[in-house]
Symmetry: C2
């Protein structure tokens, strides 16, 4: 489900102030906010700049949310609550501090969580499920009845992120090192990496990688996928191992749900399709878990909306979900 058009807010015509609930998905490349009524009618959405708590700090992250919200609150409306997901906000303390900052700035209730948790609420607004996120980083969550009950992965590039795009990129670079050492094979991965970095000798790889940024390494994952499609065994094996790693963290949290789980796969790594998905499901099968892959029900910003409803004690009725689906269709194109 990708955002495509900005719809015009449709406000109720009676004189009573419209109660407004807003969900904000702060992202690493951009942020998206969505505004809706108490019963799930979407009024509009707004796109803003990126932020990350570990990089930008508390006040800058709060400001990002506040400026997106401001543009979504029309006259004669009453902002009730904002639910936001912010990357890098890991601890309960982070969430509370950010909630307070946003709340005091907007004069309404606010609830903040991590970006992955937001995606969980959007994928499984009701019922149980597992969400595996594999973008630049990787992690898995189990959600049950609106609460995150288990998490695995998400420990960052140094301690974790196994199976992420960053991990895949590093494995590609390592496969070059092994080929040069003589313990691996020279395949198209080596050629492609030599070309990508303009290397005259593979010895240059060590000093070049010292300066590579995390997203430059992660961007190699697409290259690996391309080469895998052309039949390269080393690339196929890297993607297979990425899938297995993601299967391991998925299995760790899935056990908390039961033997039969719904699973949503979110993030750019899954563009590699069956190269990654089949080994992921195979790991789950091996530990006795039957997983059904589902499409995420909503984009992450709707997860923020759901959080905002819950923070105000509003039960997520089936009709609200239907209204969100129906009216969100005008704002989003699948």
């Amino acid at each position: 489900m990708a955002l495509s058009v900005k719809i015009e807010p449709k406000f109720e015509t009676n004189s009573k102030a419209t109660e407004l609930y807003i969900g904000v998905d702060v992202g690493g490349t951009r942020s998206v906010g969505i505004a809706a009524s108490r019963d799930g009618f979407v009024f509009g959405y707004n796109v803003g700049g990126p932020a990350n708590l570990q990089i930008d700090g508390f006040s800058s992250c709060a400001d990002t949310v506040v400026s997106i919200v401001h543009k979504l609150v029309p006259p004669n409306s009453l902002l009730k609550c904002v639910g936001a997901g912010i990357p890098g906000a890991r601890t309960k303390g982070d969430h509370e501090k950010l909630s307070k900052l946003i709340s005091s700035s907007l004069g309404c209730k606010a609830i903040v969580t991590g970006d992955v948790e937001l995606a969980c609420h959007a994928c499984f607004p009701s019922g149980d499920g597992v969400v595996v996120v594999a973008g630049t980083g990787s992690s898995a969550r189990a959600i049950s009845g609106g609460s995150i009950i288990a998490r695995a992965g998400g420990w960052g590039p140094l301690l974790g992120d196994e199976g992420s795009a960053y991990w895949i990129g590093l494995e590609a670079l390592r496969s070059v090192a092994r080929a040069v050492d003589g313990s691996g094979s020279f395949t198209r991965v080596c050629e492609a990496i030599k070309e990508r970095f303009g290397l005259s000798s593979f010895d240059e790889l060590v000093s070049i990688t010292m300066d590579l940024k995390r997203d430059q390494i992660a961007s190699l994952a697409e290259l690996v996928h391309e080469i895998a499609k052309a039949g390269d065994e080393v690339s196929i094996e890297i993607l297979r191992r990425a899938g297995s790693e993601l299967g391991t963290i998925a299995g760790t949290v899935a056990k908390r749900i039961g033997r039969s789980v719904k699973i949503a796969l979110v993030g750019g790594v899954f563009n590699a399709g069956d190269y990654v998905k089949l080994p992921l499901l195979e790991v789950l099968r091996r530990i006795g878990i039957e997983a059904t892959v589902i499409e995420p029900k909503f984009p992450p910003c709707v997860g923020g909306l759901i959080l905002a409803y819950r923070a105000c004690g509003i039960e997520l009725a089936e009709s609200t979900i239907q209204n969100l689906e129906m009216s969100a269709r005008e704002a989003f194109i699948k």
Copy 2:
């Protein structure tokens, strides 16, 4: 073999200028130079500051060598050649550029190589052998008849260094992440790391590790060894895998020597003894290589001396090696 006392140079009393050959081992914490005659009589040694080509650049590394050499050349002596090993000097281009800088500054022949290569010449001044270095980083070399004929590993913290102290430290941190996720066990490693970093919650681990320097992570390897000695299964398993990783790079280069090889194990990781050595040898055995572990014959600076002799076309006679052993005994305490 550790350096301990500085001996007084003993110069020949005849009026002819003494021909001097100098070996310099530039290190990450300090550098050591040793001066000897053409036939292996050691005149003296000198200790200087550290340097690394990747950190300090060409002229600073050359200066480090030159200043150590200056203090080793007494009046009425003729400096013939300097052989030096410099960490971070990986490529042939690096070696040539450094040789030229040192040569033009000292007005004598100079030959430069990497620090690991220097250790190889010191471990196997004649004959064949494999050297595995596992300190902060890790790598392996095969040496035959005075030439490095194969190398593996040494790709730095991002692409390689498997089995190094840095790798062991990271694995310890990752074992904490897995314990928190629920896919691993809480053992003494978790307690020790919580204490070492003064964590109030394991969630803090992600942000703390972002700021950790490479040697801070590497320093955890000693902690892992201590806990392994106390019987902790997770620590023992980390050291076992470190040994296997080192066995893999050792095997890659050992194949180039033959089925029966002498192997020297250099660097702090081997302080963990059999926890690391036995799985290393087991990997070699599995690929059909019978390895005999030997003690390094000389400290690395003597490797520089050997390089200097060879650069001047001086064959390394058995008597020269004997002289070096005998006279070096006065300068070094085993």
